[in-house]
């Protein structure tokens, strides 16, 4: 059993390593992608600095807490797109019958698919998130929590993308819904949850995994709460399990295809 896991991890890491090697073929593009993503993320902070000059808190958050939230969202999204970027283009693979290459390999299909793409700009997101949190000086414990929640956040992003993408086994053009929902998750996730009330707040805790995967962790980082921590871990586990179940259920409906294609 251990050997199976070890061999599977070896293939996953090799796949991610090869993805990065592919992107590094053009060093200038690689570096500019990373650097400009950091700058791009940083530029959005200007509005928060202006806002916090006018008010002391926004939705119950101080500037430091907003920066921590931003750091968590950017790092989670970045990690997800470094390790499992293919979750975002899963509908394309399903609709165009491009899963064949993964199905004939003696390895886990889902992990093979998810790790087959890396978005290089995501390295910029992850770097930005880590830098931002370091600037906030959360202490050793706080930084460990940040790392833990970056992992759970990345898993939640991936699982949500996988869940929506897997619906392509049943419905066409699910890529549009997937894209909109994920953009919604990122956009809403970067605002303090206190500004959302009523139905909007319920939707952001139920329909989108914003509340459970991003806001709750940011509360735990601000004031540690064991129950909340367990709730986050449990939620991410259930969301991931649901996404995996839907993917494998859908895989039985996979129809393959005969398009000429290349693995680029």
């Amino acid at each position: 059993m251990l050997t199976v896991v070890k061999n599977q991890l070896r293939v996953c890491f090799l796949s991610i390593q090869y993805n990065i090697m592919r992107e590094m073929v053009n060093k200038v593009t690689f570096l500019t992608n990373v650097v400009f993503m950091v700058l791009n993320d940083a530029s959005i902070l200007v509005q928060w600095f202006i806002l916090f000059r006018l008010r002391d808190d926004v939705g119950g958050y101080s500037l430091r807490e907003v920066l921590m939230l931003w750091g968590l969202v950017a790092a989670s999204f970045g990690l997800s797109n470094i390790l499992f970027a293919r979750a975002l283009s899963l509908p394309n693979l399903i609709i165009n019958g491009k899963l064949d290459a993964y199905l004939v390999q003696p390895k886990n299909v889902l992990l093979g698919v998810l790790t087959s793409e890396t978005r290089i700009s995501a390295i910029g997101d992850l770097l930005y998130g880590v830098i931002l949190v370091c600037v906030c000086r959360p202490g050793v414990g706080g930084f460990c929590l940040f790392l833990l929640f970056t992992i759970t956040g990345a898993l939640a992003f991936t699982a949500f993308a996988l869940l929506l993408g897997s619906l392509s086994f049943w419905f066409v053009r699910m890529d549009i819904l997937q894209n909109q929902m994920l953009m919604g998750m990122i956009n809403f996730g970067t605002y303090p949850d206190g500004i959302f009330q009523g139905a909007a707040r319920i939707l952001l805790y139920v329909l989108l995994p914003v509340g459970m995967a991003l806001w709750l962790p940011s509360h735990v980082m601000a004031r540690f709460d064991g129950k909340m921590l367990m709730a986050v871990l449990g939620y991410v586990f259930l969301l991931s399990a649901a996404a995996v179940a839907v993917f494998y259920r859908g895989l039985k409906r996979y129809a393959s295809g005969n398009l000429m294609e290349a693995r680029l």
Partner: protein
Amino acid sequence: MQAIEVENLSKTFRVKRKEKGIRGSIGAIWHPRIEEIQAVNGVSFAVEEGEMLAFIGPNGAGKSTTIKMLTGILYPDGGRVEVLGMEPMKKRRQLAYQIGTVFGQKEQLWTHLTPNDNFRFFGAIYDLSERETEERIEELSERFALKDFIDTPVRNLSLGQRIRCEIVASLLHKPKVLFLDEPTIGLDPVVKENVRELIRQMNREEHTTIFLTSHDVGDIEKLCQRIIIVNDGQIVLDDSVEHLKNHYLHHKSAENELQKETAPSMEGMAAAAENGDASDASLEDIIVEIYKAQGEV
């Protein structure tokens, strides 16, 4: 011993149909019309270990769908499949260690990497140690003459070089059964012959069972002992290539002689038969004739 056993295999696809134009598109939202297409319909056959079988048919006959069910890519709707004693859908991973696949129209290699790096990746996929992978790369690159371009990115290789690399990648783990789906598509005659020789050699030396689909009659004639022709998802002929070549035309000639009395305007094969020179017709002519008899072409 049998490498592949297939019994009453069937697969149906559901395909959406719509009327032409924007009206049709809007109408399809409220009243979607879904048709069922029987891609494979009650196919049964068996392949012996070490046999080289050609599984052919016109476009849309169900060849690729069958191969995909044999390799665990698609779930069958009905029937039974066993490859090396395993059901592909239930033991997909275990089976994948024992089989190799080459899809001529689909690249499995990473194009930005060299063949060498690709082979190392495939070595890891099949749980080979680094030493085993190195030894196998050395052996196969010698046999498939890859040495000159093994460190050149795949995207810079010619089609022939790439296909050789695809075959090597699928052979690293010494598969017992190799599925080749149009492996020589787009290759020039010299490279085709080269690839065929390598496949023959592999079958001879490693006793690999070959399951081949191809529209190139040269592949079938030069590689396979047995041929299965499918059309509309059903097997219409299962015979040895030699027997087919020797006897089909004689049978056809006799049939045409009979028909000539009532329908004297037969062309093509009938003309060859009338001349009493059945041996002039190639395997390709025979296959085309069988396709025509099935209402294709």
